[in-house]
Subunit: 126 residues, 4 copies
């Protein structure tokens, strides 16, 4: 069964090839830490920080999902070539409407290297 790879602290990784591998496959969730109840709230999901990921037909990021704990809120699916077939960073902004405090995370799928998770991001809703 597919293993879901958890976030790795690449600053502690000595092997440069592994740093690249872990960084470009790790999704990140960016948003404010506080949201207003029942108002639009933007959540950015990106892939990688320092190392871009290929957008080749046989090797690309096929989807990123936005989760609140065990519940999937939204998913963005990409077609190879949407990033110009060049190495880059997948980036999508989902607009959601929170009603209770959330623990957000992202899960992404690379067609060559499987399933990857982000760190959790806590959002309080007032």
């Amino acid at each position: 069964m597919p293993k879901v790879i958890n976030p790795v602290d690449i600053s502690k990784e000595e092997n440069e090839a592994k740093k690249d591998y872990f960084d470009r496959h790790t999704p990140h969730v960016y948003c404010e830490s506080k949201a207003k109840k029942a108002e639009k709230f933007t959540v950015k999901v990106t892939m990688g920080k320092d190392y871009p990921h290929p957008d080749d037909h046989d090797h690309y990021i096929q989807y990123v999902q936005l989760w609140n704990r065990q519940t999937m809120l939204a998913e963005a699916t990409f077609t190879a070539g949407a990033l110009g077939n060049m190495a880059g960073h997948v980036e999508v902004d989902f607009n959601i409407v929170p009603t209770v405090s959330m623990k957000l995370s992202a899960m992404s799928y690379c067609t060559k290297h499987g399933l990857w998770q982000s760190e959790d991001v806590e959002v309080s809703v007032e």
Copy 2:
């Protein structure tokens, strides 16, 4: 077979109920009219302008797709409740990397009222 509903000029529609119906089901594409080749380019897709759409478990916008002519670039899928189960406007920002001039459009699916298309938006790439 499902009919894909094309954009309707609701300013010409006298029936208020139909104005509401057409407006809240119509996707819109917003982006700059010029893009720089091989650089990140943000495309916003939203549903409706003046009338919000329900986000009920049995009636919600399940997906919006971003197209360049006959090619799908990306798709955002939503779970009912992602907009707080309140009437609102689906809104997602896709970041793509253009290499040639594009004719963008969006297609969306309402779980009660089928498939809807946006107007085309032309983007020149330099």
Copy 3:
């Protein structure tokens, strides 16, 4: 905006290249014409009859959707290579549970040649 290509009667087409093109992009729905209410009912969706479709990384059938009139019942998404990267026919069996009579159809997406529809198939439910 993407055009959805309707079924073409290829027996009337004199151009062999067009016959091939139309055949291998046309989805077909196969099932019994009568279903028992509230019982499992199998619906097969395939692509093409006489001409196989490529399963190349830059040219494959990405999804087939099963529709009842304006309502999508189910969708199967494929990854390039699931058919061994060889020309073939996408084939998936969905099991659904009908409660009222249906007018089924399929819509499919080829990553190079866009959106295609099947003929309708009527199913009475007793």
Copy 4:
């Protein structure tokens, strides 16, 4: 981050409510143990054995994915109501074309209870 729930041996579970919960959320992969190289090979994925799962608008199985090790081969997405809004077993037959030996598994998503995995099924390809 969402936890992916691994298969549980429910025969060892004394709590009847838990047996029900684990059984109806567990995907299963059924296929022959041997496949012929480059020929069509049918893989059935179902949810649960003894206990059916609801098909309610706010609680249903949204997708099942078929995996070969870390690679997703295909995914079936369902709309609530495709099983008649009655408790039942999701069931889909994917036809794939193997070229090398496989270790198949399924992953499924319940809109209320998250991500679930099947046991692995090994298939030799000759």
